[in-house]
């Protein structure tokens, strides 16, 4: 057990370090002098040089990497060129929108998908299964941002039930804030739920063909009990894999969806930063999201060990 955990942890850390090197390297390639950018075109060469020294830009590459990576560890991402505030403050402000949105969407997608998958398996080959899987097939094909536009058209423009976009902030109260996250969350969750439902169904069908299911039936357990007690847990492994992947997609999706609903999250921040060439912000947010993806993958690896005793005794 510990050997497996340690190995997964080590892999996650190595990946994180390598990823940070990639991001740092990209920062290095980018044309333009950050000091010059911060001071503007009118600054003298001496002023720029002074700032370069202050920012540590003249130090050797390895030293600068270590400085930058050390900064990341203490959540010091540097200062935004355009806002002239620490990047971490910008991130902190925006993450309270993006993270809840991604989590609500993930929860929603799971809550929808797993019962649909179970339902479909229960009516395998019958009309209910065909309809559910037809809907899932369609759902997989729908781009979430287009779905978002359609939702806005239906619920905001037509029915006027929810605001078409914007975010009042959590200070305006939990309910209004949540209300403005409902449509974005649905837009994100449904296409993901469609994928997850399909995976749940096929994983269950695969498991139900296993010999040990027959053994359980031969014990006298009815089909339903076999499904719940024996099949579901074995089918969890592929489902968990997809859940882990989906988190990465949801993070990416969040960035796009925020643009549809004008939500002041990390996505808006990134795109503003790109247009303003505020590269340190871009890199910081990318690094943060990459770290989140790696962390979730680690979590998925660990949950495998909880589900499957065979992993616990293997290295």
């Amino acid at each position: 057990m510990t050997a497996y955990l340690l190995k997964r942890l080590a892999i996650a850390l190595i990946t994180l370090v390598l990823a940070s090197m990639v991001v740092f390297a990209v920062l290095e390639i980018i044309p333009g002098d950050p000091a010059r950018l911060m001071l503007g075109m009118n600054a003298s060469a001496d002023q720029v040089e002074l700032l370069r020294n202050q920012m540590g830009l003249n130090a050797p590459l390895a030293a600068r990497y270590l400085h930058w990576a050390g900064g990341l560890l203490s959540l010091d991402f540097g200062r935004s060129y355009t806002y002239s505030v620490p990047v971490i403050d910008l991130v902190r402000e925006r993450i309270v929108v993006s993270l809840p949105l991604a989590l609500i969407a993930l929860a929603l997608s799971t809550i929808i998908a797993i019962p649909v998958g179970l339902f479909s398996v229960g009516r395998h080959g019958r009309a209910g299964d065909t309809i559910a899987m037809g809907a899932a097939q369609l759902g997989v094909a729908v781009p979430n941002f287009w779905f978002a536009l359609m939702l806005i058209y239906l619920f905001a423009v037509w029915l006027r039930l929810v605001p078409a976009g914007g975010f009042p902030g959590w200070s305006a109260g939990v309910w209004p804030a949540l209300k403005s996250l409902v449509l974005p969350a649905i837009a994100l969750a449904l296409p993901q739920a469609a994928i997850l439902a399909r995976v749940t169904r096929s994983a269950l069908i695969e498991v139900l063909n296993e010999d040990y299911i027959r053994t359980a039936r031969a014990k006298g357990l009815p089909y339903r009990a076999v499904l719940w007690r024996h099949a579901l847990r074995n089918a969890m492994i592929p489902v968990l894999t997809i859940l882990g992947l989906q988190f990465a997609f949801l993070l990416a999706g969040t960035i796009i969806i925020e643009n549809v609903f004008y939500l002041p999250g990390l996505g808006r921040l990134v795109f503003q930063a790109i247009t303003q060439r505020d590269l340190i912000v871009v890199e910081s947010v990318v690094m943060l999201l990459v770290a989140a993806v790696i962390a979730v993958n680690l979590l998925v690896d660990l949950s495998y060990a909880v589900v499957d005793p065979r992993l616990r005794s293997r290295q």
Partner: protein, 289 residues
């Protein structure tokens, strides 16, 4: 995770018969062929010229002249969708090509060599996997500025570990089989065995994954173009059309509805095609029908 699959034992002719009696495959094939045909036709003919802006005709609702209406510059939406299909398919196809071209050899190598090589390839995979296509696209755009090429490269890079994993898992399931041992006993080396025995037996897996990645590529390209990281105007693209439609939802909903449907239909077609191929070639899934 270990992958289990049965190698289908059929002739090409049998498979063909099965393909054209499989509903999924047939529907998917027809849709995909149709989209491809539309994309090809767009090179020679579109109902209207998509580069000409006719402000007088702007935001017209669908009519016999403009089947899907016009956009805010008076361009014919149907014609733009035709040209957009070309663009989407090209981006997704090249991205799948990059993924397969790099990923499959890597995965096959990892499976054949094992040990340190395998570990290195897998760690590299983990690294690339940590950068979803959108994040790569953001970084590339941050360096080089926006452009259609960014989308191709970003999606292509993301496809590499996907294919590497599928190829590796498939190859690992083939290597322990007795016919591989027989080939080794006949003095064949790992490279030759990979080419003669392993790859032909995982082609179907790769084909299925290829259609899935193709579909995902179309979705990703649309997403990237929508946020301005992909295809740039004036080149029509489905994602960009949706971006333009967003602020005009109230008065010109057709600007959003039709390009979106184009994406849905294309992706649906490819997914059905993939499901169909998997159905036809995997005896296990057929038994369940």
């Amino acid at each position: 995770m270990t992958l289990r699959f049965d190698i289908p034992e059929e002739n090409f002719a049998d498979i063909l018969v099965k393909a054209f009696t499989n509903r999924s495959f047939l529907t998917g094939f027809v849709i995909t062929a149709l989209v491809a045909a539309v994309a090809i036709v767009s090179f020679f003919w579109t109902p209207f010229d998509v580069t000409r802006l006719i402000i007088a005709d702007k935001t017209q609702a669908p009519s016999p002249a403009h089947w899907f209406g016009t956009d805010h510059f008076g361009r014919d939406i149907f014609s733009m969708i035709m040209v957009g299909a070309r663009n989407s398919i090209a981006v997704a196809l090249v991205a799948v090509g990059i993924g397969m071209g790099v990923g499959v050899p890597l995965g096959a190598l990892a499976a054949a060599r094992g040990g340190v090589v395998d570990e290195a390839v897998m760690r590299l995979n983990d690294l690339v996997f940590a950068f979803p296509a959108l994040l790569s696209a953001i970084m590339i755009t941050a360096i080089f500025g926006p452009g259609a090429l960014n989308a191709i490269v970003a999606i292509g890079i993301f496809n590499i570990p996907v294919f590497a994993r599928v190829a590796r898992a498939g190859a690992l399931a083939i290597w322990p089989r007795e016919f591989i041992l027989a080939a080794r006993a006949a003095g064949k080396g790992k490279a030759l065995i990979t080419i003669e025995h392993v790859l032909p037996n995982i082609v179907t897996l790769l084909l299925v994954q290829g259609t899935i990645q193709f579909a995902l590529g179309i979705l990703a390209e649309a997403g990237l173009s929508y946020v301005g990281l992909g295809t740039q105007p004036p080149m029509p693209s489905w994602g960009r059309m949706l971006f333009d439609a967003q602020t005009r939802m109230g008065m010109a909903p057709w600007m959003a509805i039709f390009p979106g449907m184009a994406i849905v239909v294309t992706v649906l077609g490819l997914n059905l095609l993939g499901d169909g191929i998997a159905d036809i070639l995997d005896p296990k899934s057929r038994r369940q029908r």
